[in-house]
């Protein structure tokens, strides 16, 4: 059986940065496996700007951001295979992939980094009533069709869901001459970044209707209209509030789901909240030597954070390859309370952790003038005032290793939202 020190599954922003992180840390025998015909992943279709302010201190578009990483991968000679689907990963890190040149191949990896990204929540998962006419797209599918494949998507558009891709597509379609009638959002707040509400909706006078959902899709061959209704506090449509918009297209921007079929086959334990693997502070999953990063781990709001996280995953995989056997470790669990939905990582090893570990998380509601409070057992360690926190934006706290020295008997770390 062929062997590789490190196999990276996925050649998007996470996979590229992870491979580079490992390469910089001294791993030479790396293979990136990518199913598309080019590296860069979803950044290829994200032609809008706003990427790279943290990483490169300048504002780039998605393809430009991807190209910088791809160029580096080429310069350093990190091997990659395109048109290649990973079919299976075993718990002992045998990776089976398929492509048209080699057929099905199984290789033994010293370490694996899972960087498969996420999928859009499809129509079937939303329980939308009505027929199945043409003209209903997830926002990202429409984005790919328009920005990469030169297909027109529609002329009169209703968008359900105010995730960032939906907002970006509202602007994109408007620029291409379509009329975006309305963006309907089930929740009483937007799932997207504030800046996107401003520059994608407000700039073009596109209304955002919060606490609204689609209650009928009209048309049999092609969408002819969409009815939206206001919903009550239990997200149930309120009879009598129906408004029907004539349109030929319905875009769905209703959330992203980490794609973890391969993680499951590897026996990786998944979080029920994030849909991604549970990880320790090394971004290592429950299966030793299997690391993960990017949107397959948890859905990020910024690619810059993905790159940073992925680079650490690559460095940690390199560390694992140098010295895979560590003595039994103490893993301190992180708990979230009072509005914090999850944390990544889920555990921290106070002995082997890096000097600083970034804990990322999201809140489950919009909070104004609250504080994020970090506890080691019952001791308040830090209190950070926050003007606004929203589910659409990721939060983070950085934990320093030296703090742990003062708490040798620590049994739990808690992050809470408090007044």
């Amino acid at each position: 059986m062929k062997t590789h020190e490190l196999i990276v599954v996925g050649g998007g922003p996470a996979g590229l940065a992870a491979a580079l992180g490992a390469k910089e840390a001294g791993v030479d025998d790396i293979l990136i496996l990518e199913r598309d015909e080019r590296l860069g992943g979803i950044l290829n279709q994200c032609i809008h700007n706003g990427f790279g302010l943290h990483t490169f201190k300048e504002e780039l578009t998605g393809p430009e951001y991807a190209e910088r990483y791809i160029r580096k991968v080429e310069e350093l000679g990190v091997p990659y295979q395109l048109h290649t689907i990973v079919a299976d990963i075993s718990p002992d890190r045998k990776v089976t992939y398929v492509n048209s040149e080699e057929g099905a191949v199984t290789v033994q990896a010293g370490a694996v980094i899972l960087a498969m990204g996420c999928r859009e929540r499809p129509r079937g998962a939303l329980g939308l009533p009505g027929f199945r006419p043409a003209g209903v797209y997830t926002a990202g599918t429409a984005q790919r069709l328009m920005n990469m494949e030169n297909h027109a998507v529609g002329k009169k558009v209703v968008i359900l869901g105010s995730g960032d891709i939906g907002l970006i597509m509202a602007r994109r379609m408007t620029l291409e001459g379509a009329k975006v009638e309305v963006v309907a959002e089930l929740m009483p707040y937007s799932g997207g970044l504030k800046r996107n509400i401003v520059q994608c909706l407000n700039d073009y006078g596109i209304p955002l209707k919060l606490s609204h959902t689609v209650t009928a899709i009209h048309g049999r061959e092609r969408v002819t209209g969409v009815t939206i209704s206001k919903v009550d506090e239990n997200r149930k449509p309120i009879p009598g509030t129906e408004e029907t918009y004539e349109c030929d297209t319905l875009l769905l921007s209703c959330g992203l789901l980490p794609e973890n079929e391969l993680s499951k086959s590897a026996g990786v334990k998944l979080s029920r909240v994030t849909g991604g693997p549970e990880v320790n502070d090394k971004l290592e999953t429950s299966v030793p030597g299997v690391f993960t990063c990017g949107n397959v781990l948890h859905v990020h709001d910024l690619v810059d954070y993905v790159s940073e996280e992925a680079r650490r995953a690559g460095q940690n995989a390199a560390q694992f390859l140098r010295s895979p056997k560590t003595e039994a470790t103490r893993e301190i669990p992180l708990f979230c309370e009072g509005g914090v939905r999850y944390t990544v990582p889920q555990t921290i090893d106070p002995v082997h952790m890096a000097d600083a570990v970034t804990v990322r998380f999201r809140v489950g509601d919009v909070f104004r003038d609250k504080s994020l409070v970090l506890y080691f057992d019952d001791h308040e360690i830090r209190r950070v005032k926050k003007n606004v926190m929203a589910p659409g934006e990721m939060e983070q706290l950085i934990l320093a290793k030296k703090t742990f020295a003062d708490h040798p008997d620590l049994s739990r770390i808690t992050i809470r939202v408090e007044d």
Partner: protein, 120 residues
Amino acid sequence: METRELTCIRCPIGCSLKVTVDGENVTVLGNHCPRGMEYGKKEVTAPTRTVTSSVRVTGGVLPLASVKTVPEIPKEKIFDVMRAIRSFTAAAPVRTGEKLIENIAGTGSDLVATRTVEQK
């Protein structure tokens, strides 16, 4: 004197700005960086945007090359710029950073490719 409440769009943090215009004087509060200061001042005097789109490419491995305006264009010129973008076709190869249209729609800004499209 007029005060406007804005959300900065210069980065994903989206700072809430209070911009006060008093004749020639514009003051910006709530920004966390110099870019926010600049955004607040420009937004109440002469708002600008980066337009991103794509142009058709002939003879390339992809049918489209993504593009952006450099520097930002006046906000009211967005649709003039889009008309110019839609009526333009580039021939492969196209290189990231290549100027495709100079002084697009009379804005003084250039249209620059943001991806490389190799020849087929």
